[in-house]
Point group: C2
Chain length 147, copies 2
Amino acid sequence: MDLYTHEYFMNEALKQAKIAFEEGEIPVGAVIVSKNRIIAKAYNQTERLNDVTAHAEMLAITAAANGLGAKYLNDCRLYVTLEPCPMCAGALFWSQIGEVHFAASDTKRGFRKSNPAMLHPKTQVFSGMMAEQAEKLVLDFFRKLRE
Amino acid sequence: MDLYTHEYFMNEALKQAKIAFEEGEIPVGAVIVSKNRIIAKAYNQTERLNDVTAHAEMLAITAAANGLGAKYLNDCRLYVTLEPCPMCAGALFWSQIGEVHFAASDTKRGFRKSNPAMLHPKTQVFSGMMAEQAEKLVLDFFRKLRE
């Protein structure tokens, strides 16, 4: 029986996104779950690390592989607050991750616009859970930036 | 006047690929050049780092941004021995890199199969230089692996 629900994990990803927001980063957060336990948490750090590759998903993939001592994440699930971009989708492809759950869609920079079949054929994709909260965070961030 | 030619830089990328080969990594090497000077060298380290994101291009992008103290690589050129995969092309998109030069094509996992328009519209792409040497290294690697 699952002790934690998908909503629980997505809420943990949302908490990561809120840390990013507070730190002046585009607010995207991610967690990776293995055997119903969080093994990696990360938020976007492109500004702090001065590195365009430091998206939440990339940092989480690297941390999860480190934690597991395994390069492939077949038995893992990613929860991320925004639809992954093509870079992150490409990394998720290589990781062969079992499931990807994303909250808000990104119609401009999301991987589906580039190629909806970018993820690994074995990867199951779920979207829309807690999308409003995740999207509001991003919209608030850019509104604040423009002020 | 350019003191170094494109061939010089691609040969430096090839040297990186050869280090990968010696270390049992899929032999792909990359260098990033700014103002006609190499500011980052890297080779694929997915095995050593146990990390699917540790492609030569990704490591080079991170190192170049670090060296420049700038997230964007507009004035830079990437030389890489194999056509970048979608993950790396996505990272190159975010970096807004000025030029991408790749040697061998990767018809199976190269970004052009996923979406030929993945790179930044400002990025100029060149391919085919020293392709035979770069491809031979990869073929030799997999031949050796099968033995």
